[in-house]
């Protein structure tokens, strides 16, 4: 799905988290929102997911205005930094949650839900953990379950907030490849937030460098590296 961000701004009280920013994300792209904390990257991601509403501006999905679309109707697969798994539910129930939450008329049958969950568990290469509780999983496994849960609702896009933030270096490397593979298999427009420039450069097709609520530069990793647009970008990517 093509995502168009048109002059979006967001202020909390008197502080501006986002100055009007515009951005066009082509369908099927894997995009990194890169910046230090306080750069507005997470706010932008939450606006895309419908968890915050912009103070001004519009969000367009495939040319249609989605600014006022409620979070429930947005069908954005969202992976939270803390994963936010439901700890009183098994992995299976976590992944099935979005399907079970649908109104009766559009809810798949039990057998269909089970089939889809099993398929997703295979996709994240953890076929045998359906009966476990989140507290019994490692950090890397939790992240993949959160990803599977987001994919279960057949999202129109995938949004990830610091998806590798809480993991150690080795697991992080593995899961980067895992995300790349899932993106390539599903073909979903994917946006992830990170403060790690190496991660952004290695994984994304398109990198959006942000600072202080503004976009500093948009470009392919190699272009940003070769021609940093501002002193901030030069400083940040060399860090």
């Amino acid at each position: 799905m093509h995502i168009e961000i048109d002059e979006i701004s967001k202020s909390f009280g008197t502080t501006a988290a986002l100055h009007p920013v515009s951005l066009s994300l082509p369908s099927g792209a894997l995009v990194a929102l890169l910046g230090p904390s306080g750069s507005g990257k997470t706010t932008l991601l939450r606006i895309l997911g419908g968890l915050e509403f912009p103070t001004s501006g519009r969000v367009m999905f495939d040319g249609q205005d989605a600014t006022g679309l409620s979070v429930q109707d947005r069908r954005a697969g969202f992976v939270f930094q803390s994963y936010a798994l439901f700890r009183h539910m098994t992995v299976f129930d976590n992944i099935a949650y979005g399907l079970n939450a649908r109104p009766r008329a559009s809810r798949p049958t039990k057998a269909e839900i089970a089939r889809r969950v099993t398929k997703l568990l295979e996709l994240i290469q953890l076929p045998d953990i359906g009966a476990r509780y989140p507290s019994q999983l490692s950090g890397g496994q939790r992240q993949r379950v959160a990803l599977a849960r987001a994919l279960a609702i057949e999202p129109r896009m995938l949004l990830l907030d610091e998806p590798f933030g809480a993991l150690d270096a080795k697991v992080r490397k593995e899961l980067r490849q895992g995300l790349r593979d899932i993106h390539d298999t599903t073909g979903l427009t994917t946006v992830f937030v990170t403060h790690d420039q190496e991660e952004a450069m290695e994984l994304a097709d398109l990198v959006v460098v942000m600072s202080m609520g503004r976009i500093e530069q948009i470009g392919k990793p190699q272009d940003i590296r070769a021609r940093p647009a501002t002193p901030f970008v030069r400083e940040f990517i060399s860090a």
Binding site: G49, G50, L51, V71, Q72, D73, R74, R75, A76, G77, F78, F80, Q81, S82, A84, L85, F86, R87, H88, M89, Y97, G98, N100, A101, R102, Y133, S135, R149, A150, A152, I153
Partner: protein
């Protein structure tokens, strides 16, 4: 067998703190309870059964337990609502409400008892209102119910409140991004997370209500078989110097207390094992 009874520690004061703890615990709590159990043992199971197995005793035990259950159920629902309102919403007077939740802990039971009676008696403020629709509250089981709701009010709220504070917003947001309505989120995500704490508070409120005396006797009317609670029966037996019968009823009540203590612990073990926290 390899684990020593007490691990060696560089901390000072082992003998003194252990001595004070065990001596006072024995003197104040364990020996008196032991005296009750001993009395029961002398009296014999048959004797206890004979005392308890009378219509008036069964009626009192059943009344205490049944009304306590209803009051605890009311407090379960109202307590969860109160915990949610106090943690999540900001409105004028919230701090006063929060402090007021503890009043039943702080107000002496006898004071609560006569005050509730004054309010719900036929010539009292609420009693008159209820009387207009022919509803008698004081000196009926309704009066006992209200007194038991009063004494059990803080338990569920105070156990659930910290859990509500700890719910991560992200978990609720995750539910919404997966398409769940607010109602679905509350029903399937929030309430299950509150369940272990709410059940603990429920059991505490129930235990408190079953043994409650001071706030109930004034409003109850104390009619045998109808509004006579179990603790009152013990007092009546004692006033007639009928120690065996008092002990028998006391042991029956003690067993109910122990059973409820066990339930509370089982709830906590269960929730810790399942969810990884209490």
């Amino acid at each position: 067998m390899g684990r020593p009874l007490i691990h060696r520690s560089p901390m000072p004061g082992l003998g003194l703190s252990m001595g004070i703890t065990l001596t006072m615990l024995s003197l104040v709590v364990l020996l008196p309870i032991g005296a009750l159990l001993l009395k029961g043992a002398n009296y014999g199971l048959a004797g206890i059964w004979e005392t308890v197995n009378r219509e008036r005793v069964w009626a009192a035990l059943f009344l205490s337990f049944r009304l306590s259950l209803f009051a605890a159920l009311f407090n379960l629902v109202f307590g969860v609502l109160l915990a949610w309102v106090l943690v999540r919403y900001r409105f004028p007077g919230r701090r006063i409400l929060d402090a007021a939740v503890d009043l039943p802990f702080a107000l002496p039971t006898a004071v609560a008892g006569i005050s509730l009676t004054a309010l719900y008696a036929p010539n009292g403020f609420f009693g008159q209102l209820a009387g207009e629709i022919g509803w008698k509250i004081a000196y009926t089981q309704w009066g006992i119910f209200i007194a038991l709701v009063f004494v059990g009010l803080p338990f569920v709220t105070r156990t659930v409140q910290p859990v509500v504070e700890e719910i991560e917003r992200e978990v609720e947001e995750a539910s919404a991004t997966l398409g769940a309505s607010r109602f679905h989120t509350i029903r399937h995500v929030i309430l299950p997370m509150l369940t272990p704490a709410a059940l603990t508070g429920f059991a505490l409120a129930l235990a408190r209500a079953v043994g409650e005396y001071g706030s109930v006797i004034f409003i109850a009317g104390n009619i045998p078989l109808v509004t006579e609670i179990a603790p009152l029966l013990i007092i009546i037996q004692l006033e007639e110097f009928n120690y065996d019968a008092a002990a028998a009823i006391g042991i029956a009540m003690l067993l109910i207390s122990f059973a409820m203590l066990l339930v509370i612990n089982l709830i906590q073990v269960w929730s810790r094992r399942r969810i990884g926290y209490v």
